[in-house]
Amino acid sequence: MTREKTHKWLVIILGLLISVSWIYPFFIIFFGSLKSRAEIFTNTIWIPETFVPENYSRAYEGLEYGRSFLNSLFITTSSIIIIVIFSSMAAYALARNKSKISTGIYFFCALTMLIPFQSVMIPLVSIFGQINFLNRFGLIIMNWGFASSMSIFLYYGAMRSISVSLDEAAYLDGGTPFQIFWRVIFPILRPTTVTVVILNAIRLWNDFLLPSLVINQEGMRTIPLRMYYFFGEYTVQWELALAGLVLAIVPIIVLYIFIQRYIVEGVTKGAVKT
């Protein structure tokens, strides 16, 4: 065997060893979720000896899984739709009208990205409370506000590579800026829209603190919120707590496996470009 080949196989073996230990925590949780209450204490990290699939039906009920899942889905998708519509429009206007005002707005957005959530959460909750917006509608508005600057940046960056002659041609055909944007420009921005959707989806689906302050009521709770209470109730019954955790993780992992390439690309763009 040549030196290069030996090197290649050594790297692969090392990579496999690290990979297995890297995801083993997930397996510990998965194995545990199928065990009986007694077995979790005698066999903590290995494959179950007897399978207790009923853990799942009980965790499903305890988490009010169907409802929590739909709540998460509703908050995430409706926030993202609004974020995509308004951020792309704002970025288009800013990129196509180079002026002092546009530069000012751009830097204003940049500055708001320096503000951590915890430093505005107390007044934010109090303002939204006073106008009776501590509900799903209010949460979507807040999600939009916190995601705006980053999304505008990503769209603004992409706008720079789209030629103005496209706008001009469409304008001569009699389109209004509104029509030009939605029919000509927005379709070209598709790769950026994918990035914006993915980055916001990861953050919004997993968000806990903001929803806990705004929609912490029976029937409205998202998966992370519901999980928090469920786990608190069931730490003495680990097998149920673990089945609940698996139920919470599975949708994310399944989606990840299917659109893995887009997620990694999106995260790279988000990290390097903003």
């Binding site: 290069e4 959530f117 807040m142 800026p177």
Partner: protein, 288 residues
């Protein structure tokens, strides 16, 4: 298009975003500075000047939380960047398609939120480690998360597991941008693999270090979910990080004015970290 009409469209496109950012971020920030000068409990507030800020200086728990967070951030930033870079170098070796599989695995924990991650590891530290201790007799695995030291390292380990894959992706994208000719030229000049890494790749990675260091630093300061799910500050507030300290002051002790003064200090710390990063990156860009 005529100026007036064009202007109208411009503002129609920009104003919704401006308004929402103003009402969700800027207005609360400004009002928050006002709140921090009162003794507000959420309902009644009396102006008390800078008293909250003076009180901060002698608040042992706040200073402890801040110091705990700084130590945590310091350790986490170093470990995450070493591991993230290590993983990036591993998956960018010429190993074919299996590289994609490795990346997928290493990045996976980053997709899961702090609450879920914290609970997963609570089980591992508390139950699985106890099982390992029983099976092997190693006292190292006993009573994790029961004291401050294991609580600290528990938080570090989970944060590391969550962030390393993310930082790996940043390093990969920078490694990919190093021109191949540079490495080739080095090889022709007689550099071995080790030298090629330290003398050619390493200096070219400088911008990646800046991005990754500050990203981890800022994220380490903002941790709340993970802290809540893993230790909830126990035992006795000794693993309570700064964000949790602010939250508890506001929503458990109902001292919203006082909590907001902490929040303002917290804002200043995070803003200084982020601005330093912007400053350093800009200067480097000019150099290139």
């Amino acid at each position: 298009m005529k100026g007036k009409k064009k202007n109208l469209y411009y503002w129609a496109f920009v104003i919704p975003s401006l308004l929402v950012v103003f009402f969700v971020i800027v207005l609360p920030l400004i009002l928050g500075i006002g709140t921090s000068l009162t003794n507000s409990d959420g309902h009644n507030a009396v102006f008390i000047g800078l008293n909250n800020y003076i009180r901060l200086l002698s608040d042992d728990q706040f200073i402890y939380s801040l110091w705990f967070t700084i130590r945590f951030a310091f350790v986490a930033v170093i470990l995450i960047n070493v591991i993230g870079l290590g993983l990036a170098l591993l998956v960018t070796q010429k190993i074919g398609k299996v590289s994609l599989f490795f990346r997928t695995i290493f990045f996976m924990p980053n997709l899961i939120g702090g609450i879920i991650l914290g609970f997963i590891w609570q089980f591992i530290f508390v139950r699985a480690f106890a099982g390992i201790a029983e099976a092997t007799g190693l006292s190292f695995f006993n009573a994790w998360l029961a004291d401050t030291t294991t609580g600290f390292w528990g938080l570090v380990i989970v944060f590391l597991w969550q962030m390393s894959g993310y930082i790996m992706i940043i390093y990969i994208s920078f490694l990919a941008n190093i021109p191949g000719e540079l490495i080739e030229a080095g090889k022709i000049d007689g550099a071995n693999k080790w030298q090629a890494f330290w003398l050619i790749k390493f200096p070219m990675l400088a911008p990646a270090f800046t991005v990754s260091l500050f990203l981890t630093l800022a994220n380490a300061f903002k941790i709340y979910d993970l802290n809540l799910a893993l230790t909830n500050g126990a035992p006795f507030g000794s693993t309570e990080m700064i964000a949790m300290n602010i939250y508890n002051t506001a929503f458990f002790q109902y001292q919203q004015g006082y909590a907001q003064s902490k929040a303002v200090v917290f804002f200043l710390i995070v803003a200084v970290i982020s601005l330093t990063q912007v400053f350093i990156t800009r200067r480097k860009e000019v150099d290139l």
